[in-house]
């Protein structure tokens, strides 16, 4: 199992070399977005309007953080379950999104889009929100403040730990992992 350090934004070359099970430490800017923000982004795309964030090369983190305590950049911030974003993700990938961070299985449409347009799906440890928050140095709301914990935040992360779940070749760590340890 390799451990790879990557800086965002990501290029095709960055993501093409990644394989399922690789541990990656991400440094740079990532954007938070979950259910309600995805719906708004998708509606803008459908209407042919500009997005509040240029998503080319970017990584979206499916997270709705807990409120920050005084003196902290952010509260607990672990991943939410990703399949709820499956309806919107292929379009964002087509527009240049290179990475998604979440937890849980993705649908066939998302896996197909990752292969076709070169993007990867990373898993962060679900429920480890207090630990993951330590890798987030700064967070500011850049869109949809009215959504509360679902607003889009620009996050500066340092060595944010993730694992490659789906690579650009259509492989899936969840399928391979369970196959390896399944017992009759």
């Amino acid at each position: 199992m390799a451990e790879i350090k990557l800086k965002t934004p990501l290029t095709d070359k960055d993501v093409e070399k990644l394989e399922i099970g690789d541990r990656v430490l991400l440094t740079g800017v990532i954007y938070s977005a979950r259910d309600a923000a995805h719906k708004r982004l998708f509606d803008l795309i459908q209407a042919g309007k500009e997005l509040p964030v240029d998503i080319r090369g970017q990584v979206i983190y499916y997270v709705g953080p807990a409120p920050a305590k005084p003196g902290k950049p952010i509260g607990s911030a672990g991943p939410t379950t990703s399949y709820r974003m499956d309806a919107y993700a292929p379009k964002l990938i087509e527009l240049g999104l290179k990475g998604m961070i979440g937890k849980g299985n993705r649908g066939a449409g998302v896996v197909e889009a990752m292969k076709k347009f070169k993007a990867v799906y990373f898993g962060a440890t679900g429920g480890a929100g207090a630990l993951l928050a330590r890798s987030i140095r700064k967070a500011e709301t850049v869109a949809y403040e009215d959504l509360g914990p679902e607003a889009i935040q620009r996050m500066e992360v340092e060595d944010f730990p993730v694992v490659v779940i789906n690579d650009t070749k259509g492989n899936d760590l969840y399928v391979e992992g369970a196959k390896k340890y399944r017992k009759p």
């Binding site: 199992m1 099970g21 259910d35 309600a36 997270v63 709705g64 953080p65 807990a66 409120p67 920050a68 305590k69 902290k72 509260g75 607990s76 911030a77 672990g78 939410t80 379950t81 399949y83 937890k103 849980g104 299985n105 898993g123 440890t125 679900g126 429920g127 480890a128 929100g129 207090a130 630990l131 928050a133 330590r134 959504l147 509360g148 914990p149 679902e150 694992v163 760590l173 969840y174 391979e176 992992g177 369970a178 196959k179 390896k180 340890y181 399944r182 017992k183 009759p184």
Partner: protein, 279 residues
């Protein structure tokens, strides 16, 4: 007749939700230690170590274990000789939720089902009342995260499906849930009663401590058997593969209609949070 002040109830609920969200139970931590000893997968062991470290940080900083600090579920057993004074009981409980989630820096996750507009204070709580003998009030706070809750199901089996059909339903549900509910999970199984009663039994089952077996020795055996079957699925911590897919399985059983066999599976993530107070 014993009097309990509404303000005392509010304070207890506030403290319980903060405590449950920031301090993982010793029973869960001990189950993590066992998994680190026994899981064959190095990746699985690494994930569990991360979860232990996360629990340590949360306890030290008094910050929530998980950003999903849940919808506020409350089990409230009210002694029949208790008289609540100085306010409305339901409002006192909700005020406790409001204060706990506000003052504890917990995430507010309650929203309108259609507009998705956040209620901004995590109320209303989901409150299950029970009237019991005595002059005490027992309050159990269960912050319930959405990811695992979404993997839960109720089914009305045919009585001919029997106990084997129930076991099959539970194992299949956990298999289909895969990595979504943040395994290793705790699985609450409610059997019997009516449609809604089975779901309530499944939820109540989740308030047991890890390793606390059903008092009926036959059901205790079934719990262990189903746990072993789930852990043979190979899903493992976070779904990365391994032998620790569930930490425990709890069955709660009540009589049902002669035509029915209601079964509910309530899935709980590894952040299995519940704290209680007796007033």
């Amino acid at each position: 007749m014993r009097e309990i002040q509404a303000a005392e109830i509010t304070k207890a609920v506030r403290d319980l939700f903060i405590d449950a969200n920031c301090n993982l139970g010793e029973d869960v931590l001990a189950a993590f230690d066992r998994a680190i000893e026994t899981d064959e997968s190095p990746v699985a062991r690494e994930v569990i170590r991360e979860l232990k470290e996360n629990a340590r940080i949360a306890r030290d900083e008094q910050s929530p274990l998980c950003q999903d600090t849940g919808l506020a579920v409350l089990f409230v057993e009210v002694g029949q000789d208790v008289h609540v004074t100085g306010g409305d009981l339901k409002e006192a409980l909700n005020e406790g939720v409001r204060r706990g989630y506000g003052e504890g820096y917990l995430r507010k996750s309650a929203c309108h089902p259609f507009t998705r507009a956040n209620t901004r204070d995590n109320t209303p709580a989901v409150i299950h009342f029970d009237i019991v003998p005595g002059e005490r009030m027992r309050i159990v706070a269960v912050p319930k995260g959405g990811g695992a809750e979404n993997m839960s199901r109720v089914d009305m089996l045919s009585p001919s499906a029997g106990l084997e059909g129930i076991k099959e339903f539970v194992v299949k549900r956990i298999e289909a849930s895969g990595s979504n509910p943040c395994p290793p999970t705790v699985v609450g199984v409610g059997i019997g009663g009516t449609f809604e009663r089975s779901a309530l039994l499944a939820k109540k089952a989740l308030t047991r401590r890890i390793g606390q077996r059903n008092t009926d020795p036959e059901l205790a055996k079934v719990e262990i058997e189903v746990l072993e079957r789930i852990n043979r699925l190979g899903i493992g911590p976070m779904g990365y593969g391994g032998n620790t897919t569930a930490l425990d399985v709890f069955f709660e059983v009540e009589p049902c209609h002669i035509a029915s066999l209601p079964v509910a599976v309530n899935v709980q993530c590894h952040a299995t949070r519940h704290k209680e107070a007796i007033l």
